[in-house]
Symmetry: C2
Subunit: 242 residues, 2 copies
């Protein structure tokens, strides 16, 4: 077959899989991915061969998946959420010219911004930005500039990778940049471990968010100027006159 | 039950449904939605009662769904793509305080930006913005400001509602704003009818996009400064050294 599916599996729970993602995983002879996601997905396909590696070994997984596909196998490389949003679709497609004859199919999935937003209400109901606070692969100056532009455009904002052990304090720095133009009363939300064990959501103001510790399994939402808290839900109206 | 599910059904084809969306539709006694989406989804649940109305009658559908849920029925209100991205989750939550006792659950789905991106490659592989060009509910000045800020932040951009009969020329106006700061060579993409009959994708430059007519079933992608065309795919690298 020489086929590689790059599959967004949502949160990892079966209920967030699309039928297309399930079909791709069922078709694969080999499932590759980050150890933690393989642990979530592999039990759904107990008979499959898996190749799992740890964090920061993304390119090794991509190359292994491409090599195995080039050798004639049907391979699925799993990503949490969507395959294209900070996922493996981009590096696989960058490497693909080295692996002639392999056909790649990207299978979209429910990214954390959408899954978290649904649990909080509808914070992304109008124009929005998605920004990662991880400076592992992006200079911090670029992240700052994007935060300033997201605030200047009055977008609702979803922040990925808001924190980690190494990057404690990044969310506070991001809030300080947003507070240059946005009110401290701006409604915000934190969605943690959505679609996994112990999922939780919290609604708070931007000023409170600045003082809040979040972890790396959280997605953070910062409202636009139109975002409101209605009945305990975070809502960015599209503009219908209700 | 007094339960209302607001369900993102993806493109409408069964393969883009999540298991959670399918379960919500299966649990519902009544499925409400825009006529065109009901036509896609209803055949999967042939025994269900449906309530379908035309475009611009969104609030009527929301109120009908809430009224039926308040009357004790389990109701699903379907949205294409994700329920929260320009979908019905926000207006339902805005109206909910008028309908005491109804429990609302938003079920996330694969929005057009993710589905289209997967078919084009990985244009949203790094930070991105989603902007609707519809000025039906948003002043055009706000849309212009958001486009300028999206360009200033060097975001990859997904444009929803890029055109309609009434709004021919809006995409050209949007391109002109982006061309104030972005190169005419910026790689762009158009994804049309993704996950439906006759789906297609096209990769072109921003200068070419300005001269291109697109319709309202298309989603338009404009690259960041890092976006490249690799092997016929549109790719925004995250920054791994490949």
């Amino acid at each position: 077959m020489r086929k590689l599916y790059v599959v967004g599996v949502g949160s990892g729970k079966e209920e967030y899989l699309t039928a297309a993602a399930r079909a791709a995983l069922a078709a694969a002879e080999l499932i590759c991915g980050y150890t933690a996601y393989i642990a979530l997905i592999a039990p759904l396909f107990p008979e499959k061969e898996v190749f799992a590696t740890g964090m920061t070994r993304e390119l090794e997984r991509c190359r292994h998946a491409l090599e195995q596909a080039r050798a004639g196998r049907t391979v699925a490389l799993v990503c949490s959420g969507d395959a294209g949003v900070y996922g493996m679709a981009a590096p696989v497609l960058e490497l693909l010219p080295e692996y002639g004859g392999v056909e790649v199919e990207v299978v979209a999935g429910v990214t954390a911004a959408l899954a978290g937003a649904a649990k909080l209400g509808a914070p992304l109901g109008h124009d929005f930005c998605v920004v990662s606070l991880s400076d592992l692969l992006t200079p911090w100056e670029v992240i700052e500039q994007r935060l300033r532009c997201a605030a200047a455009g009055d977008f609702a904002i979803a922040l990925y990778n808001p924190s980690s052990k190494r990057r404690a304090g990044y969310l506070r720095k991001a809030c300080d940049i947003l507070l240059e133009t946005k009110s401290g009363d701006t409604p915000c939300g934190v969605a943690r471990s959505i679609g996994r064990e112990g999922e939780s959501v919290r609604i708070l103001t931007l000023a409170e968010l600045r003082e809040t510790a979040v972890d790396m399994v959280s997605t953070v939402f910062v409202g636009s100027g139109a975002t409101r808290v209605i009945g305990g839900k975070l809502v960015t109206p599209r503009g219908y006159r209700v």
